[in-house]
C-alpha cells in the first residue's frame, strides 16, 4: 500500500467500476431479495448486467480519454443496459458527473465531492426524489454533503462507516418514490435496494482510493 490517493484519474475510475461490478455480481441475490420484498426483484440482475456492459465498454487503455469521457461512457452503458428505474438514475448520475469533469484528466478530492454532488443532482432531476424518500438518493446526497465537509482529511474507513449508517437508515423510512412507494407504510422495515447498491458503489470507491496506487 502506498497510502491513499490524493487525486483521481481515469485509471481510478476504471478500477472503481470494475470493483463495483465484482461487488454487485457477488451480492446480486441479496439485492434481488431486497427488491422482491418491496419492489419487483430485478435490481441485482439489472445492475449486474449493466455494470458488465460498462466495464466491457471501458477500453483497457483509457489513458487517452479524460474523466468526462469515461464517466459519459459509463453513464451511457448504464442507461442502455440496466433498464428500469435504476438504469435511468445511475445513468443520469454518471452523465451529470461527466459534465463537471469535461476535459479533465485529473481531479482533486475536493473536486470529487462536487462530482458526487453533481451525480446526486442528476438523480434528483431525473427521479424527482427528495432526501428521505427512501431511494438511492439517500446515499448519494448525504455522501456528497459528508465529503464536502470532511474532504480536507478524509478517512475512507470512516466514509465506509458513514455509508453503512446511511444505508441502515433507509430501513425506517416510508418510500415516497419508486416501486416501493406503492406499499406506503408497509415499506418500513426494509432496506431500499437502490440505497444498498449505491452503498456498494461507494464502498468500492473508498476501497479504490484507500488502496491508492
Amino acid at each position: 500500500m502506498k497510502g491513499a490517493s490524493k487525486v483521481i484519474q481515469v485509471e481510478h475510475v476504471v478500477k472503481w467500476i470494475q470493483l463495483t461490478h465484482q461487488k454487485i455480481v457477488a451480492t446480486k441475490d441479496k439485492l434481488t431479495e431486497l427488491d422482491q420484498a418491496i419492489g419487483d426483484g430485478d435490481h441485482g440482475i439489472n445492475l449486474a448486467r449493466g455494470l458488465d456492459a460498462a466495464i466491457q465498454n471501458l477500453s483497457p487503455d483509457e489513458s487517452k480519454e479524460d474523466l468526462g469521457e469515461v464517466f459519459q461512457k459509463i453513464g451511457m452503458a448504464l442507461i442502455a443496459k440496466v433498464g428500469g428505474a435504476s438504469g435511468a438514475l445511475y445513468g443520469s448520475a454518471f452523465v451529470h458527473m461527466a459534465k463537471v469533469c469535461k476535459g479533465k484528466k485529473l481531479i482533486s478530492l475536493a473536486e470529487l465531492a462536487q462530482v458526487i454532488e453533481a451525480g446526486a443532482m442528476g438523480i434528483k432531476a431525473r427521479g424527482r426524489a427528495e432526501v428521505g424518500d427512501k431511494t438511492m438518493l439517500d446515499i448519494w446526497q448525504p455522501l456528497a454533503d459528508y465529503l464536502n465537509e470532511h474532504i480536507e482529511k478524509v478517512s475512507w474507513e470512516k466514509v465506509q462507516q458513514f455509508l453503512f449508517e446511511q444505508m441502515e437508515k433507509t430501513k425506517e423510512l416510508v418510500a415516497k418514490k419508486g416501486r416501493a412507494a406503492f406499499l406506503e407504510s408497509r415499506s418500513i422495515g426494509h432496506l431500499d435496494p437502490g440505497a444498498v447498491s449505491s452503498t456498494y458503489l461507494f464502498i468500492a470507491l473508498c476501497e479504490t482510493l484507500d488502496r491508492g496506487e
Partner: protein
C-alpha cells in the same frame, strides 16, 4: 423453476423473435432490438409507441398493428426498456405527424420514456406522452408516485390507436388517451406468485389458503392478504373498489375487462366475469362490451384483474373500430 425456455438471459429476445416469425403479416422486429413495429407503416398518421418490462404478454407486442400501436418496446422481464431502444422505436414509426408515448405509471418506465422523449425531441421529432394509472389498489396521491398502470392500458392503446388511424392530430390523440385514462379503473388479485426467469424463485409466497387483493402485475403487494374466498366474493370486492373510485349510475355505459394474470384457466375467468356482469346488471349499468382473457399478464401468476372503462359515444365508437393485431 419449471419453464419452457432455453436460457433465462435470452427469454425476451427469443420471445420477440418468435412473435415476429409467427406473425409476419402484422409485425416485424427491428434488427438488434426487442422492438416490434407494425408492417403497414405507410399512411401518414400520428404514431403510437408503448412498451415496458416483459412478462406481461400479450402486452405490448400483441397490440401492435393497424388500429392500435405502431411499435412496442420490450424491456427485460419486469424491467423498463432503455431510452436508446425507445428512441429507436420512435424513429422507426414517426411519419412526421408526431408520436404519442403510452407509458404505464412506474418510475422506471416514466424515466426511461422521458429520456427517450428528450432525445427524440433533440432530433426534431414531435413527441407527447400519456401515463396510465388505472390501478385503484394504490392510493392516489400527488405527494408520491400515484397509481400503477395495469390492464386498463389496453383500452388506451385501442381507443387512441383507432383515433390516430382516422387521421387525428397528435394533440387530439393525446387528449383522447388522457380521457380514456381518466375514465379507466382497474384492480387485480392473485392466488399465486410468479418467477422471473433470471431470478429462479418466486417473488413472494402465498400460503395454500390465501390470496392477495390488489396485487400489482410485478408481484407488488396489494391491499390485503386474506383467506381465499369464492369467485363471486372476489368479483364483488374488486367491483366495489372500482365503483368507489369511479361511481357509476344507472344507464351509465361501460366496457369491462376481466383479465387473466397468466395461469388462471378461462373457466375461472368466466366464473368471475359472470358475477361482474350480474352486479352491473343489478345496478342497471349498461355494458357495451366485455373482454375476458389474457391482456396484461404477470408471467405464470394465477389471478385476475377487473377493469371498467366508462364510455361516451365517441369512446364507444372508437373501441369498436376494427384492429389487426395478434391479441385484440
Amino acid at each position: 423453476m419449471k419453464k419452457l425456455i432455453n436460457h433465462p438471459d435470452y427469454v425476451v429476445q427469443e420471445m420477440i423473435e418468435g412473435m415476429a416469425l409467427a406473425h409476419p403479416q402484422i409485425i416485424r422486429k427491428l434488427n438488434d432490438t426487442n422492438i416490434l413495429v407494425r408492417t403497414d407503416l405507410n399512411n401518414a398518421k400520428v404514431a403510437l409507441v408503448s412498451g415496458g418490462g416483459s412478462g406481461h404478454e400479450p402486452a405490448h407486442g400483441g397490440f401492435v398493428g393497424t388500429g392500435m400501436l405502431d411499435a412496442a418496446v420490450a424491456g427485460e422481464v419486469f424491467t423498463s426498456p432503455t431510452p436508446d431502444q425507445i428512441l429507436e422505436a420512435i424513429k422507426a414509426v414517426d411519419r412526421g405527424k408526431g408520436v404519442l408515448l403510452i407509458i404505464k405509471n412506474y418510475s422506471g418506465d416514466v424515466m426511461n420514456f422521458e429520456m427517450a422523449m428528450e432525445l427524440a425531441e433533440a432530433e426534431g421529432i414531435l413527441v407527447e406522452k400519456v401515463v396510465v394509472d388505472d390501478d385503484v389498489a394504490v392510493k392516489n396521491s400527488t405527494y408520491t408516485v400515484g397509481r400503477r398502470g395495469i390492464a386498463g392500458t389496453i383500452f388506451v392503446h385501442k381507443i387512441a390507436g383507432a383515433l390516430a388511424e382516422q387521421g387525428a392530430s397528435l394533440d387530439e390523440v393525446k387528449q383522447i388517451a388522457d380521457r380514456v385514462i381518466l375514465q379507466t379503473k382497474s384492480m387485480g388479485m392473485a392466488l399465486s406468485s410468479c418467477i422471473i426467469p433470471a431470478v429462479g424463485k418466486p417473488g413472494f409466497e402465498l400460503p395454500e389458503d390465501e390470496m392477495e387483493m390488489g396485487m400489482g402485475i410485478h408481484g407488488e403487494p396489494g391491499i390485503e392478504r386474506k383467506k381465499v374466498v369464492s369467485a363471486d366474493e372476489v368479483a364483488s370486492v374488486l367491483v366495489s373498489h372500482l365503483q368507489k373510485e369511479m361511481p357509476l349510475a344507472a344507464n351509465d355505459r361501460v366496457a369491462v375487462m376481466v383479465n387473466g394474470l397468466g395461469a388462471t384457466p378461462m373457466m375461472e375467468l368466466y366464473i368471475v366475469s359472470r358475477k361482474v356482469s350480474q352486479l352491473l346488471q343489478e345496478s342497471k349499468i349498461q355494458v357495451h362490451r366485455t373482454f375476458v382473457g389474457e391482456y396484461m399478464t404477470s408471467l405464470e401468476m394465477a389471478g385476475c384483474s377487473v377493469t371498467f372503462l366508462k364510455l361516451d359515444n365517441v369512446l364507444a365508437e372508437l373501441l369498436d373500430q376494427p384492429a389487426q393485431t395478434i391479441a385484440w
